[in-house]
Symmetry: C2
Subunit: 467 residues, 2 copies
């Protein structure tokens, strides 16, 4: 690797090429729970050989061309907030640290467009457009620790997605360097019918098809009014039915979150009632529309037999919604924990919920099996399962972790759901990807990968199942 | 070709393999104006050698495998309503007539999903879901003569797109046979982050990446209320400003159409006033939201200096909106005519309009150069240019046709617009595709094509510029 380190240093200047142990160590994995567990247990987890920190797009092209010329793997790295094992250190690889490209390029209040370097922190990007009275409207829980390019690369969703869409609905243009070193800028108009939408080759590719260097997002004006409402649901099915009615009659609260009773108790103890679930909503937009929506939603909830709850619960959620737990803290307390997001149609989601919760009951030392929904569509809804096992020591935590995942993946697939809603696939869901794509779809993905990256240098081993 | 005809007949049965002159003649081109002109002028336009009419997906796989084994081009054909030259007969090719696969597979009012064979007529599909109180919400002008699969294949837009989205926003799943004969079903959940969204490889591919055999669409409930409104705009820019304000403040009339004065005069003569443009809107949804929207839109229009017009003009448009002219009738009257749809951001659309209209003034014997907008986004809007030249005979019509297109394409690209909004690219826009994708984007599209279809058998010559 010394040859490539020398070549990178010559091309970029030595300041942009890091080989010190601390820098390499800090980027040896992302927020995938399993690697934190292994690290906690004292296992040695490999780092990359070198970190290349581009200052601009030309630097990225240089890095990519050097790596391809030397047949060296290259791992695009944003801010390291992924939770599915997209980033795993490789001593034969170059880590391409996009965190060094973090400027705002332009904010355009007339056309509601903002152009960012891919490595910019998401919350900073939001704060910069907020100064202009605008919002990206994309609020992943990780907003404070994730990058705009990472949002695109993992097909992220934000908490306000029900009205404002997921990242693919917010993207205007993607700039990327392909494995062959070509720079592409895809997206130059509000909408196009100019062949397949090639932006989708990069959205969700998790570093396997090239590296995203810039992202133009289509913004929104800050809403005139924001109001909260909340309702108790006697059962999850009762809440799902109301949510379906709200969305299918044409209302779109940006936030609709339905917590099962264990999660109500855990997150909003003061508001917990009997064995009930809760539906929390944020209503935003022109004041007159918000008022009409509140009235309509109240009627739908009442017709569905749901009782109003104190809207303060939504304010409480707003205050704590972007807290990201540290795996290490949980592991120290003997807990192996994860959240697993899936989706399903309205008629299947109840069965998925019941089957997964039932499956999780068989998990070793399980102390929590719960779920909430957080993203709503005309056709269905997501579920965000949480599981936790309280273990005596860390010995059996990894087995429990993968068992918990496997139980939820199988219960979801067996009941006709989609196995990945918005965290991406990484290495964690590779073995389950065929449930969504079918074997022929997986083969197609593999064929595209080969066409894009014939040397298999871009984040090898991630996302795409082996043949 | 006799060998392949025999092979197809053996595989499908002779009834599904047509070689009679009338059938071949009827499908020798689509609705691309130029081929109708050439035909009118008595030029001989080639037909395909044979028409294969699959009854089901297995038949499609058989046809594809026979063609690839015999290295024979295959041209997927829907209902032939394309206007950009996607279908051109080839005596060495098999025409794969998807019009023979035209069943509704299922309609699911709970999850608002409808699954169709790709070849079903669009209006029939809409009528079938309307029986259940539902709507696809996708109303291309061609709805009566186009297929659902064709909508996907060309990335179509409907007249109600501003609220209901373009076809990519309405698609839930795509079933397709790839050039290698594999059957893929892409899309199994309300939303996924399971790698790149591979449906986008087929949307807009215009038959070059495989053949779409089935489409599942996400429906809407029929709206509670529908109301019309209309306003005069003293200039196109005044109207654009109002439309921008309406959409950026969060209102979404499904239909927003702004006609310049020549088009007002031509289409709505009784309503024409001075030299003014007109903005026509359809408001739909829950009654309370429609009322709030009407009030808000009226205030925005008044604040922008626009005067109300008689909403009857919108009812008139609704009545005649799906009329599709016959090129032959126009050519017989000495007119060479086309419509050209492009898009641009709010700050560029006025310049694009002015530049294209000015450019069209230089078109030989021009008798009309006009435009309307019909699809609105937070970031910008489309324009639908019309040009017409009145010629003495057909001799110079083709040159005028391509010159009219070239003037609009160049004016759009020079002013930063997107050169294709919703008719697709076909053979007509191939030479302009680099304006949208860049040279590296075109090279990427070509690389994907080679990966998908290494023998270049699927609709060769269409869409993708040669290297």
């Amino acid at each position: 690797m010394n040859t490539i380190i020398a070549a990178l240093s010559a091309a970029l200047g030595p300041d942009q090429v890091l080989t010190d142990a601390a820098s390499l160590h800090a980027r040896r994995f992302d927020r995938w729970c399993v690697n934190h567990l292994r690290d906690f247990r004292g296992e040695t987890l490999p780092s990359c050989a070198v970190i290349a920190r581009p200052a601009n797009v030309a630097d990225v092209q240089k890095i990519v061309r050097i790596c391809t010329a030397m047949n060296t793997p290259i791992i695009p790295y944003g801010l390291g907030s992924g939770v599915c094992g997209g980033i795993v250190g490789n001593p034969r690889a170059v880590l391409l640290d996009m965190g060094s490209m973090n400027r705002v390029r332009s904010i355009d209040p007339i056309n509601l467009l903002a152009d960012f370097d891919a490595g910019i922190n998401g919350l900073l990007a939001e704060q910069l457009v907020a100064v202009e009275g605008l919002t990206i409207g994309h609020w992943p829980q990780s907003i404070g620790i994730s990058s705009v390019g990472g949002w695109v690369s993992t097909r992220a969703s934000g908490q306000f997605s029900t009205a404002y869409g997921n990242i693919e609905d917010i993207i205007y243009a993607i700039e990327a360097v392909l494995p062959n070193g070509d720079l592409v800028t895809l997206g130059c108009a509000p909408r196009a019918a100019a062949g397949p939408d090639l932006r989708h080759l990069l959205m969700g590719a998790e570093g396997t098809m090239g590296v995203i260097t810039g992202v133009t997002l289509s913004l929104r004006r800050a809403p005139e009014q924001r109001t909260f409402s909340a309702y108790y649901a006697k059962t999850m099915d009762q809440g799902f039915a109301a949510q379906r009615e709200i969305v299918q009659t044409g209302w779109l609260p940006p936030v609709m979150r339905q917590y099962d009773h264990p999660e109500v108790t855990r997150n909003f103890r003061a508001h917990a009632r009997d064995n009930q679930a809760m539906l929390l909503m944020v209503h935003e937009g022109p004041a007159a529309r918000v008022q009409a929506e509140l009235t309509a939603v109240a009627k739908i909830a009442a017709d569905g037999g749901m009782a109003p709850a104190d809207p303060q619960v939504v304010a409480d959620w707003m205050d704590q919604r972007n807290h990201v737990p540290e795996w290490r803290d949980l592991i120290e307390r003997g807990l192996i924990v994860d959240t697993v997001e899936i989706s399903g149609t309205w008629s299947r989601i109840g069965a998925i919920y019941n089957a997964a919760i039932k499956e999780l009951a068989g998990l070793e030392n399980v102390v929590n099996a719960s779920a909430h929904s957080s993203h709503v569509y005309r056709t269905g809804i997501n579920l965000y399962f949480s599981f936790a096992s309280l273990m005596d020591g860390t010995e059996r935590m990894e087995a429990a972790y993968f068992d918990g995942w496997d139980r939820i993946m199988r219960a979801t697939a067996a009941n006709g759901g989609g196995i990945a809603h918005h965290h991406g696939a990484g290495r964690l869901r590779k073995a389950y990807l065929h449930h969504d794509l079918g074997d022929t779809g997986v083969a197609l993905l593999r064929r595209l990968k080969t066409a894009m990256d014939p040397q298999n240098l871009f984040n090898p081993g991630n996302l795409i199942p082996d043949a």
